[in-house]
């Protein structure tokens, strides 16, 4: 095996991490949606502590990646944005956690 190939193989777990989920705010959003069946925008806004603009923007990216399903509906006269993780989103979230765990577990203990 050439030195370059060896280096590539060593770096693989961390370079293969899903960058969409790797962003902390998006990870937080996905974690909340992972533990429930569905939630509305207001619930996520309250629980995550993100601003409205920030949450909207991250949800847009997650929707574009196919990880979150966003449905707008009316509850009586009140508009409501319902959010849920898609099947791909759940699989990607599990894979991300597994790859992060592996990448961090492989690190040697630090020496002083």
């Amino acid at each position: 095996m050439s030195p370059k190939n060896k280096e590539t193989q060593l770096n693989q777990p961390i370079t293969e991490v899903d960058r969409i989920i790797h962003e902390p705010a998006r990870y937080l959003i996905m974690a909340y949606l992972y533990v429930v069946e569905s939630a509305d925008f207001l619930f996520l806004l309250r629980q995550t502590g993100l601003t409205k603009g920030n949450l909207s923007s991250h949800l847009g990216k997650l929707e574009k990646a196919g990880y979150v399903d966003i449905k707008k509906k009316f509850s009586g006269k009140i508009p409501q944005t319902l959010l849920r993780l898609t099947r791909d989103g759940r699989v990607a979230f599990d894979a991300y956690r597994a790859s992060m765990k592996k990448a961090l577990a492989d690190l040697p203990n630090g020496r002083k």
Binding site: Y27, L45, Q47, K52
Partner: protein, 217 residues
């Protein structure tokens, strides 16, 4: 805590307990106990049993309306909607089954014991000693199971406050010669209501109402 360090079990518990963060259930349970106090009050002041029953039912209806409207008008516009996954649903089902079984078994045991006794003085003994012990045990067991399975810790305190009502009524009657059942039920009910309103006030402060346009993406 870094976002990537999130413990999903803790997060799920946090989402679940947020369901009881509004104090509405505490107030509902406080009102149910207050219904017994109101019924007892009408009897204590010498009104007929009909007034007592109407008073009791009136407060129970008020409690049910408060729970329904409170969740709809106070909690949902402030905290949003969440549908729990299979684990959450299983937790509710487990708590419901345990509650139903404990209530049924307790009631059946009490009916069997009291109907088996024909002697008047023995029946009085049942009312004086067995019924209060049965009440305390049932309340502590039922509320503790519910608190454990629903992860709703204030239910332990509520269970204790429910449990002390009948023994304190007996103690007041027998040792202090005070015939005020309303106090035995009213004081614990008031304590639960105060606790509920404090939790509700904290909830209102933590989650002020947002404008409609801020509530959606």
């Amino acid at each position: 805590m870094k976002a990537q360090d999130i413990d999903l079990k803790k997060l799920e518990r946090k989402v679940w307990t947020s369901f009881f963060e509004d104090g509405i259930w505490d107030i509902y349970l406080g009102l149910l106990l207050m219904a017994l106090a109101v019924g007892a009050f009408f009897t204590d002041v010498g009104l007929t049993e009909q007034y007592s029953i109407f008073g009791h039912i009136g407060v129970v209806i008020l409690a049910i309306f408060f729970l329904w409207l409170g969740k709809r008008l106070i909690t949902l516009p402030r905290m949003g909607t969440v549908h729990f996954g299979p684990k959450g649903k299983a937790r509710i089902t487990k708590a419901q089954i345990i509650l139903a079984i404990s209530c049924f078994m307790g009631l059946a045991a009490f009916i069997l014991v009291s109907s088996a006794i024909s002697n008047v003085s023995a029946r009085q003994q049942v009312m004086d000693f067995i019924f209060p012990s049965f009440w305390v045990t049932t309340m502590l067991v039922v509320f503790s199971f519910a608190a454990y399975f629903l992860n709703y810790r204030r239910l332990y305190i509520i269970g204790i406050l429910y449990a002390i009502t009948i023994p304190s009524d007996k103690i007041m009657r027998q040792f202090l010669h005070i015939d005020l059942t309303v106090l035995a039920f009213g004081i614990p009910a008031l304590a639960i209501l105060i606790m509920g309103f404090i939790v509700l006030a904290r909830f209102l402060k933590k989650y002020p109402l947002l404008h409609e346009e801020e509530q959606n993406a």
